[in-house]
Subunit: 355 residues, 3 copies
Amino acid sequence: MAQKTNPGRFFEDFTLGEEIVHATPRTVTEGDQSLYTALYGTRFAVNSSAEFARSLGLGGAPIDDLLVFHIVFGKTVPDISLNAVANLGYAGGRFGVPVFAGDTLSTRSTVIGLKPNGNGQTGVVWVRSTGRNQRGEMVLDYVRWVMVKRRAPGTDVSATHDCPPSDLPKAVDASDLVVPTDLDARGFDFALSGEPHAFEDYTPGERIDHVDGMTIEEAEHQIATRLYQNTAKVHFNQLEANGNRFGRRLIYGGHIISLARSLSFNGLANVVRVAAINAGAHANPTFAGDTIHAWSEVISADALPGRTDLGVLRLRLIATKNRAAADFPLKDADGKYLADVVLDLDYTVLVPRRG
Amino acid sequence: MAQKTNPGRFFEDFTLGEEIVHATPRTVTEGDQSLYTALYGTRFAVNSSAEFARSLGLGGAPIDDLLVFHIVFGKTVPDISLNAVANLGYAGGRFGVPVFAGDTLSTRSTVIGLKPNGNGQTGVVWVRSTGRNQRGEMVLDYVRWVMVKRRAPGTDVSATHDCPPSDLPKAVDASDLVVPTDLDARGFDFALSGEPHAFEDYTPGERIDHVDGMTIEEAEHQIATRLYQNTAKVHFNQLEANGNRFGRRLIYGGHIISLARSLSFNGLANVVRVAAINAGAHANPTFAGDTIHAWSEVISADALPGRTDLGVLRLRLIATKNRAAADFPLKDADGKYLADVVLDLDYTVLVPRRG
Amino acid sequence: MAQKTNPGRFFEDFTLGEEIVHATPRTVTEGDQSLYTALYGTRFAVNSSAEFARSLGLGGAPIDDLLVFHIVFGKTVPDISLNAVANLGYAGGRFGVPVFAGDTLSTRSTVIGLKPNGNGQTGVVWVRSTGRNQRGEMVLDYVRWVMVKRRAPGTDVSATHDCPPSDLPKAVDASDLVVPTDLDARGFDFALSGEPHAFEDYTPGERIDHVDGMTIEEAEHQIATRLYQNTAKVHFNQLEANGNRFGRRLIYGGHIISLARSLSFNGLANVVRVAAINAGAHANPTFAGDTIHAWSEVISADALPGRTDLGVLRLRLIATKNRAAADFPLKDADGKYLADVVLDLDYTVLVPRRG
């Protein structure tokens, strides 16, 4: 009669190079996409309309890229971050083949870095996690690192070399992006999509205030996080939260990413695809009742090798809580995030060229 | 580097006769219908059961008519009512071919009336909006008029004639209703549908208290309104609402229509289809925490030309907040809506005849 | 112009042996399953992944068994329990053929017991309810009994014999369980499913604390209960609840069952199917804001006749409110349920054998 429940892994339980098979696979359906729409109000044309997607050569409307991210990520939580103290960062996130309703996603992770912290209480674990569909095709591949508690105090670990892993890119290169086979944006209908702006209209350094704001309710973030089968307990258990330093359930950081991206429609309506997540910081925690605003900065605008129909925008997406974003809030004079900045995401999208 | 975000149209930005193509098309799925059921508890048999719908000759369960309304309507918000001061009325709403899961809906509007207000601050815009499926077939056609802010004070506008448009019907005539091809209600199963009442059992002037009440939560109306991709900011942003005269997020009027219609099952269970929306007033605002009750009055009961299986009921659907409807509350002695009346909807349905 | 609305049945309106056809049939879709996942965070592999289900010989991922229960049950509410004072018990619940997206469920009930209470105000009604799919195949069959108000005080009723019905089983026998045709668990993948525990690892008397807790919001239980088209008004109407002894909307007992079962994943991840509901008590009411924890006891572990791939576990699932379950709370010294115990469910599941 062994211990039946999952206590989560502690720092000592990870081995460099080990591959972890995450439970449980998940078939993504139109119902999931409906819920995603209802939770964030997203309306990017290619994900909203099967007809629009077909006009670009796709077989139907792909599942929203960030819904794919959340599902692939959610699988890793019971094995990687159940005893995490902090979610430290993301790097090298690349979206692969598009996901369509009916596809089944599963995730595996490889431990690529381990570093005990000097305090002897925690260590940092780097994992590369790969989500695949039922045909084994990569749908998302990314690195994240988390600070995890030790089971017992100490500082030594069998393998601590290569930390942070030396091949972590600062950003995914345009030539490494996966462009869905058959995607052809030459006939892109800017009127149906919502805005007249094409790739050529965006300039590095340009800042866009996305204007609108959205207030989060407890039921909403809980419904979202459970949809992703993310089991991190800090999001669901108020009884336990009564004893934490906030006295509140924490909102899953990915919920803020999706809210901010949905708000970004106002100014970035014509994004065809999220192609990469280069880096990300959850700068401050959010709670139910917070109102989220967002703004974006164009980091760079690059050609997509071999293509005249699509360009690559690398964007910085900033979300705030309880503060409008018209003045582009970010950091204070000391380079610290302002207290009302909650997200700083570096990601890459494909946008149609005017041609 | 042009302005990237949508500031919405002001009164001066509308031109009589102009056609507006609304973004973004939306494929309606079984997931949307599930959410609609979960948000309102609707259980009209023809929309609830594909088998029941097939027993009436249809190819499957049509998407709930009011879900179609909300999606078609939601598309118009960014172009028509982002700067609206008030949603003044509806007329001549006709439902066309039924919508099934997998259909893609898009909306276009034609400006059919423009009238500057004497105060020089606002004007009234009349639009006819038409929702179509991917085959170009009309699924909903209706007129609404809204009061919109001017960009700059003034009273003149290039075209102000024909206001209100002279061809607005008081109610859609029974002979103008669209009856779905193949719909045959001769074998209608009143036991499975929920009530024994047929068309012959309803009498003009009859009032029905729908008895049940439902309390609205913030998360519910937000999830609903986002499902419809309706972007009207008053429904989502508490930070901004803190500064309005209510200090609250306003609930989308269509949410109340759907709640009231769902409550109307108790007394009108056998409605096969909403065929027309003749007129409607959102008499008072609603907020989270309000409990909605509803009652109906039969305005008229008419034969459906050429049909013996279906009859036409024109109904008035009244919703209240925080007050039961057993005494049929409506207006005060001066003809003003009572403060707890929130909806007065004039609509037309198809009901099976006993034969 | 007869009374149009459903007043519900009183004790005198039931006749022994009578069969009641419940409205309205319901086509279950992938959207319903998505919502179910989002409401409870359930992630049992066979329901989560069509690929995993196919690896066990099934045609696809079956709809979650308890979602089937709630839909079949919900149909009975308008006819059986609209005037119920209390839901007294369940017995002999057997799940039949699995339900897949696209199936249409309907429910009929037979009155199998009637007993007036001595106070002359109420009586107890026993019904056997059977849910069937569009092919007439049984998907769920169970007995429940409820205390119902009398229309007029009295103690006599035409037929009061056989109460409680003499053939009510204490638990469904392993030989009476329905095992889905084609289900073959020989290749069961314990890694993908989430835990290494097979049937052989569970011991009668073993107790499992499921560790995690989940806090319920008003929007969540309302959305769930409406998804099931359950119309019991105590769950939805705060205006009326203001006058009840709690001053609160009561949460549907089935919502707690589903929450507790979802929490039970942690320790019982490899359950392939809920096969029977033997008995159940909603020990105390729950309200929004309550945090639910759960623990299980293995009542018995039996072979499944003729099968080497699956074993039968009879389980007791206990849920608490606002109290962790590590100390297995249940009853006080007098045998009364503790005030923070809210569910005591006796049910039977199929679990893969290691072989």
